[in-house]
């Protein structure tokens, strides 16, 4: 579809350079707990100057359909991540006995 918006003949694409200027409006990651008993899950991000505004804006942006009992916001710069690339090299299949499917429980035993 036209989110690609075709190039007019003769035109060149100009790419975003990644020049980062927040104008003092840093990025915050938003986590929403949709219902009691569930974890907060990552919902997206938004820009705000401070935590209180970020929380308020997150409520308007990510819980319009009452999909949230709790909202967390964290400055994006405070997210520390594992090195996902490394984990790609280590097969999870190393320790299959951690998974329930490894075990063959007879049906007669019932739900387990």
């Amino acid at each position: 579809m036209t989110y690609e918006v075709p190039l007019v003949p003769g035109e060149q694409h100009e790419d975003a350079t990644g020049a980062h200027d927040d104008h003092g409006w840093p990025l915050w990651e938003v986590f929403v707990r949709p219902k009691r008993g569930l974890n907060h899950t990552h919902a997206g991000s938004l820009h705000a100057t401070d935590a209180e505004t970020a929380v308020q804006n997150a409520r308007d942006a990510y819980t319009r359909r009452a999909e949230g009992v709790s909202v967390w916001v964290v400055p994006s710069t405070e997210i520390h991540a594992s090195d996902d690339a490394e984990s790609m090299f280590e097969p999870f299949e190393d320790r299959p006995y951690r998974h329930p499917t490894f075990y063959d429980i007879p049906d007669e035993v019932g739900q387990m």
Partner: protein, 310 residues
Amino acid sequence: MTGEDVFQATIEADEKIEPRDWMPEGYRKTLVRQIAQHAHSEIIGMQPEGNWISRAPTLMRKAILMAKVQDEAGHGLYLYSAAETLGVSRDELQHLLHIGKQKYSSIFNYPTLTWADIGIIGWLVDGAAIVNQIALQGTSYGPYSRAMVRICKEESFHQRQGYAICLALSQGSEEQRQMLQDAVDRWWWPSLMMFGPHDAESTHTEESMEWKIKRVSNDDLRQHFIDQTVPQGQYLGVTFPDADLRYDEETGHWHIGEIDWDEFWAVVKGNGPLNRERIANKVKAWDDGAWVREAAAAYADKHARLAESA
């Protein structure tokens, strides 16, 4: 295994590429451009619909329309968020939009002249967007795919409220029926153009398909939209402004006449009915708000420093 191997294997396995994964520069650039333009489309789309908030014929319709336009702002937000995971900032993307280096879906360059246009936008324009967005739920880049899932959930309300407006008009007075038909006459072809050029003429298609950014071709999406929409129009009792529109018994598809590609390219080039106004309004809102954003940043800064020195 190199990062590239992992990337290829992930794509082949139909799994998602996530923000910190290795990815070809072309993949990243294409995504930034596409996601940004998708986001810009949502934001600019607030204007043709926002045009009727103040004149909605009932309080209920006013509230529904406000909620819809609010959703569009929200969708823009989700999409800018997804784009920002690729190492760009929303500010920069917006700047590129303002100077005409990034675009938005051409459909939003058309004017909303009557209340019926609001119904048509929901039925046809959101209908077309949904066809595309459902396909994009399967896009290979994780954040974009997840944004699409979230948007799709909300979007079906948009199409339904639009069709409900059309239904009310079709069951109303003669004037209302004519208002509806007039809107169909003006919006049908531009809606079909939303799917872009024929794939054979689309420079992006092949690469995008290989990288699984794009999952279904322009023509296939367009055909899907036509097949689902024509019967909906028949139910409304409207005709489509296409003398060549006919049903093919053998294939089960509706065939349309030829799209006016001159109009299509003219609008993409910037010479549609409202290209300049849409951008001018966007730029004005941004410029008018500069003092507000500066103030908020200054306040936060002041108080962060106060907290530190306390």
